[in-house]
């Protein structure tokens, strides 16, 4: 998939590939021997966070799992 920042797609794909392998082969199996994708993630984040700022996308407005208030089952 493409990144929202046109120039970030390559960094994103490189990171995704690393993440998917780590997720399947380490994380899900309970192996906590360090994350090999940290550096790639940092580079990708520098790029994508700038793109988000430039495009004015409000991603920080809501806390994590944000709208997950207890809602009525109406």
């Amino acid at each position: 998939m493409n990144s929202v920042g046109e120039g970030c797609t390559d960094l994103k794909r490189e990171y995704d590939q690393c993440f998917n392998r780590w997720f399947a082969e380490k994380f899900l199996k309970g192996d906590r021997s360090g994350d090999p994708c940290t550096e790639m993630f940092k580079k990708y984040q520098v790029c994508v966070q700038k793109a988000i700022k430039d495009k004015d996308i409000p991603i920080d407005g809501v806390e994590f799992m944000g709208p997950n208030k207890e809602k009525p089952e109406s």
């Binding site: 995704d16 399947a24 799992m65 944000g66 709208p67 997950n68």
Partner: protein
């Protein structure tokens, strides 16, 4: 007023396969409306859960009847936020998804809990809940109904997309039946015909106007 919807779904794959597929499910033949996908936050918590925030851009089409009420230059894209928690110990994944664009018009919040299917341990079940609301004066009910109908059809697409990606991961040729392909072609033809009809109408009325000038 908020409209509430809930349903259960089952994927005939194990929980770990489904969780892996969750991060690889775009693009798939049922996700043409998804334009971009980004992780904007990710962390492993001290109790070994993976928390992520994903930002998606999707095309968003308003229903035709609503167009006269909407701003002309309204964006055809919508930003969607998706937070998730993956817990390998309990074999569960919880996601919370909501739109950050056009939210006054139509707000859709969805919570999914993925877990092992109690009847068949090698399958995965998904409990899906959605809250749909609109603050548009006078049209909120109509928008809610539209939102609910669209949400339901998007659930079908999501599940099909998931099945496609899972089949691909497991090395099968994903099945897109002839019937499905044919149905899509029919729908597309219908849309084209409709568009042509509207265009013809427009041209006809223009021609009429010219006559009277």
């Amino acid at each position: 007023m908020v409209k509430y919807f809930s349903c259960f779904g089952v994927l005939k794959s194990s929980w770990d396969q489904v969780f892996i597929a969750f991060w690889q499910r775009y693009p798939n033949p049922y996700s043409n409306h998804v334009l971009t996908e980004d992780i904007v936050f990710r962390e492993v918590t001290p109790d070994n859960r993976l928390i992520s925030r994903r930002l998606l851009t999707k095309t968003s089409r308003a229903p035709r009847w609503a167009e006269p009420y909407l701003p002309v230059q309204m964006s055809r894209c919508a930003y969607i936020m998706e937070d998730s928690i993956v817990d390998p110990q309990t074999k569960t994944m919880t996601t919370m998804t909501w739109n950050i664009s056009h939210a006054r018009l139509l707000s859709v919040e969805e919570r999914c809990v993925y877990g092992v299917n109690p009847e068949n341990g090698s399958w995965t079940q998904i409990k899906r809940e959605a809250w749909i609301s609109s603050s548009l004066y006078g049209l909120s009910r109509a928008f809610q109904e539209f939102g609910l109908a669209r949400f339901k059809s998007s659930v079908t697409k999501t599940m099909k997309g998931f099945e496609y990606v899972l089949a691909k991961m497991q090395g099968e040729t994903p099945s897109r039946t002839l019937a499905e392909t044919a149905k899509e072609a029919t729908e597309k033809a219908r849309e084209t015909a409709l568009a042509a009809k509207e265009k013809a109408k427009g041209l006809a009325s223009q021609a009429q106007k010219k006559q009277y000038v």
